[in-house]
Symmetry: C2
Subunit: 232 residues, 2 copies
DNA sequence: GGCACTAAATGAATGCCATTCATTTAGAGT
DNA sequence: ACTCTAAATGAATGGCATTCATTTAGTGCC
């Protein structure tokens, strides 16, 4: 191919980092939903959800922002991809070989831990249909199967899971709360019962406050739900 | 005061709706945190949280957007004002004259109902210190007092409330979820246990699915937490 | 083996959004 | 009366998600 009249750069000198790729479809695809998902995850782990912008994601992938829209319809789509990807990390294995109450405990703890790192996804998960979220469906199938084998009647399974999930999502927020969230400040004199209860926590050892509340609530829920089983 | 040379408009003709107020401090203050709060609430009830922008809020109050910043430091401040305002709507009255378990039930149901209409505030509440949120502190004081009188040891009060709150916030999201949220779609054959559990809900009468799960979980929590009391 | 179609990139533009700043005016305190 | 500060305007800023025209490359069809 002879050099065109417009070819006034030496061909061996690459462009400076911004826009190294020339216009038009590249020989092999740079993007797909998979690479977008892991890039988003990587970006979040470095900069947090504040740093997850379409522009930053594009920069991270060395691509123009508009290129992302060939693979997702919106930023919400990216969040959905993340949600499904992360749900695969939730450990449901205990439903296969442990008693129901132990399995629920392990699943719930794992579920909370995964999404405590990703609370901005919670509003998305809680409201969005599960259709076309294969990993999420796989988790529900494993959990539903565990409940059924533990003797839950069909019509109690979904409500029980929903109740547990509600508690799990709320508890995930809790993990990220600052330690002094309950400091009554100058209002302390007006709130003696509350203030006294807060102060009594000061010398709790080992566990974070969020863990104490999580264990307390989860134990109560498991005990209560267990009564719905046909046999125990 | 004689008409200045620049006064070339008839004084009786008011300006068209945009910018009816002239530059400079008005004779009496137009804004304060109270009017901003109720305006925000009004705006939300008309347009939802998507419609709550600083510009829209300013337009609603017939004020320049920058004027808001004389009274709040950021949009987050507006959300905090909303949160405290709404917390005052949560009904804690049952703690004064009903048995503990009934009071918890009434409080939790009321709390969930208030914030089911305002789920965008949940991430804010769950993470933000309670200092200088007087209504919120008042609610906690009423609840803590109810727990103490019911025989809870001091160090169990806050964890119990936190566990309940986690469940309540999660359940508030649940209220807003679409009815078909659990439709497995084309994945149904791969998820038989889950799909069967979902179908068994089809002919549940009376209650919304969210209410069934809420009642189920709340009853379990109340029963479980009740065991922490010194006497019952 | 050419040809139309479609997929996947760029880069420029759009409109919205929260926030800031210089400026103006009015009241409050000394 | 004078100064200080509070509370408004209006113009500007920078970041954001998203859209569109354009360019190029592979794919399926006759």
């Amino acid at each position: 191919m002879p050099a065109s009249a417009a070819d006034h750069h030496s061909p061996t000198v690459p462009r400076r980092t911004p826009s190294r790729r020339r216009v038009g479809r590249p020989p092999s695809a740079v993007l797909d939903q998979g690479v977008i998902t892991v890039a988003a995850l990587d970006l979040i782990s470095r900069k947090g959800y504040e740093g997850l912008t379409m522009a930053a994601l594009a920069r991270f992938l060395d691509v123009a922002p508009s290129a992302l829209y060939n693979h997702v319809n919106s930023k919400m789509d990216v969040l959905l991809l993340l949600e499904d990807h992360l749900t695969a990390r939730v450990d449901v294995s205990a439903f296969a070989d442990r008693p129901w109450d132990e399995a629920v405990y392990a699943w719930a703890a794992s579920y909370r831990d995964v999404f405590a790192q990703h609370t901005p996804l919670i509003p998305v998960i809680a409201v969005l249909p599960v259709t076309n979220a294969p990993q999420t469906l796989a988790m529900y199938e494993a959990v539903a199967s565990g409940f059924r084998h533990a003797g839950f009647p069909d019509e109690k399974i979904i409500p029980s899971i929903v109740a547990l999930e509600s508690f799990i999502f709320g508890s995930a927020y809790d993990v990220t709360a600052p330690a002094d969230i309950f400091d009554p400040g100058s209002m302390a004199p007006a709130t003696p019962n509350f203030t006294s209860a807060v102060h009594s926590l000061k010398n709790e050892e080992h566990s974070r406050p969020a863990d104490i509340a999580f264990t307390l609530g989860l134990d109560a829920l498991i005990a209560g739900l267990s009564k719905l089983r046909r046999f125990s």
